[in-house]
């Protein structure tokens, strides 16, 4: 029963997120608005951590698994990827290294400067 009630809270927040997206007419996905809402609910104490803790652990522990069907969607793009796999993979690889470097270094530098 505990898990079911916790799931209901999460779905309720997600539902509110979708509702807000439609009413505000913004192009931020309802899931992200839901995430912000849940964060605010926890901060304000309107929702206690225990009310969503177990379902959160379950969902976050299996996060990578939930991407399997999206990954299988690759099948639909076999042709495009077959023809251009070298540039596509090169762009992904180089860009990923650059993003990690810029993000990590920026934060490390700013934190160091603040503490010194």
């Amino acid at each position: 029963m505990k898990l079911l009630r916790q799931l209901a809270w999460v779905l309720f927040v997600l539902f509110l997120g979708e509702l807000l997206r439609v009413f505000l007419g913004i192009s931020i996905p309802g899931t992200v608005i839901g995430m912000i809402l849940l964060f605010l609910l926890l901060l304000s104490g309107l929702l206690k951590l225990e009310q969503v803790a177990d379902i959160s652990n379950f969902l976050l522990d299996h996060l990578a698994f939930f991407f399997v069907p999206a990954g299988v969607g690759l099948m639909a793009n076999f042709q495009v990827i077959k023809e251009a796999w070298v540039p596509i993979l090169s762009i992904i690889g180089i860009s990923t290294v650059l993003v990690m470097g810029v993000t990590g270094w920026t934060i490390q530098l700013m934190k160091k400067r603040k503490s010194s």
């Binding site: 899931t31 379902i55 690759l74 993000t103 934060i107």
Partner: protein, 242 residues
């Protein structure tokens, strides 16, 4: 006669598989197989998600099962990505003190990283002479699938290609991330987590969680913010592609 018997068998098999059970079960079995293989050999390229994708695609192809049949169950799993995105607020809330302490470096880092992602795709697409349609589809490569699909629709990309590129980026980020962080000398736990989440969204976060709770939480919080940042940045930079 042989031929028609063959056809008949095929139809029976497809009817038999045409329930959500097949897609869900196949996904779980393939993912568990991926976990077992990774535990056995411990090589970072043996990512359970990557292995599960390969196994599912191989099985569908070998047995000539249509992707629509698989998607009957696959869509139930995909549905859980919604609630999973929402509860990313929980690790963020648990780490509220770290966030309060370093909110400015975190925000600047995520915006710089997201801009780097978009700019590098634009620049590299020119270097490699990639078709405009592919380049546009790759713009949101570092954000979470839910946001990336919306961006792709908006800028005229091929949505399924965007999903493929996002998943590939996530897997690559998760696989090479810890190594890259080490080589680049990024030792700060907050910086490590934000770098993983900004570059490789939720798949990167699943790896960041293995590095530590701080890294996991920082990575998780970066997903939403990087998505927002990318939504804001792309309209400013997309003109450079033309």
């Amino acid at each position: 006669m042989d031929h028609s018997a063959d056809e008949k068998e095929k139809i029976i098999m497809k009817d038999f598989l045409a329930t959500p059970i097949f897609g869900v079960l196949l996904s779980i079995v393939c993912y568990e197989a991926g976990i077992i293989i990774q535990r056995r050999w411990r090589h970072p390229m043996l990512n359970p998600l990557l292995l599960a994708m390969v196994f599912v695609i191989l099985i569908l192809t070998v047995f000539d099962i249509p992707k629509e049949t698989y998607d009957l169950g696959g869509s139930y799993i995909l549905f859980l990505l919604g609630p999973a995105t929402v509860v990313m607020a929980v690790p963020l809330y648990r780490q509220i003190n770290l966030l309060k302490k370093d909110w400015l470096p975190i925000l600047v880092g995520i915006f710089a990283g997201s801009a780097t992602s978009v700019l590098s795709v634009i620049g590299l697409a020119k270097v490699f002479h990639v078709d405009l349609e592919i380049a546009v589809s790759m713009l949101p490569k570092s954000v979470t699938t839910a946001i990336g699909m919306e961006i792709s629709k908006e800028v005229g990309g091929v949505v399924s290609l965007t999903v493929a590129v996002i998943v590939l980026t996530g897997i690559l980020g998760a696989v090479i991330g810890p190594f890259i962080l080490k080589v680049l000398g990024i030792k700060d736990e907050v910086a490590q987590g934000v770098a993983m989440g900004t570059a490789a969204h939720a798949v990167g976060t699943s790896k960041a969680m293995e590095l530590g709770e701080t890294q996991g939480a920082m990575s998780g919080l970066s997903i939403g913010i990087a998505g927002l940042a990318t939504v804001l940045i792309i309209p400013l930079l997309i003109g450079l592609l033309g």
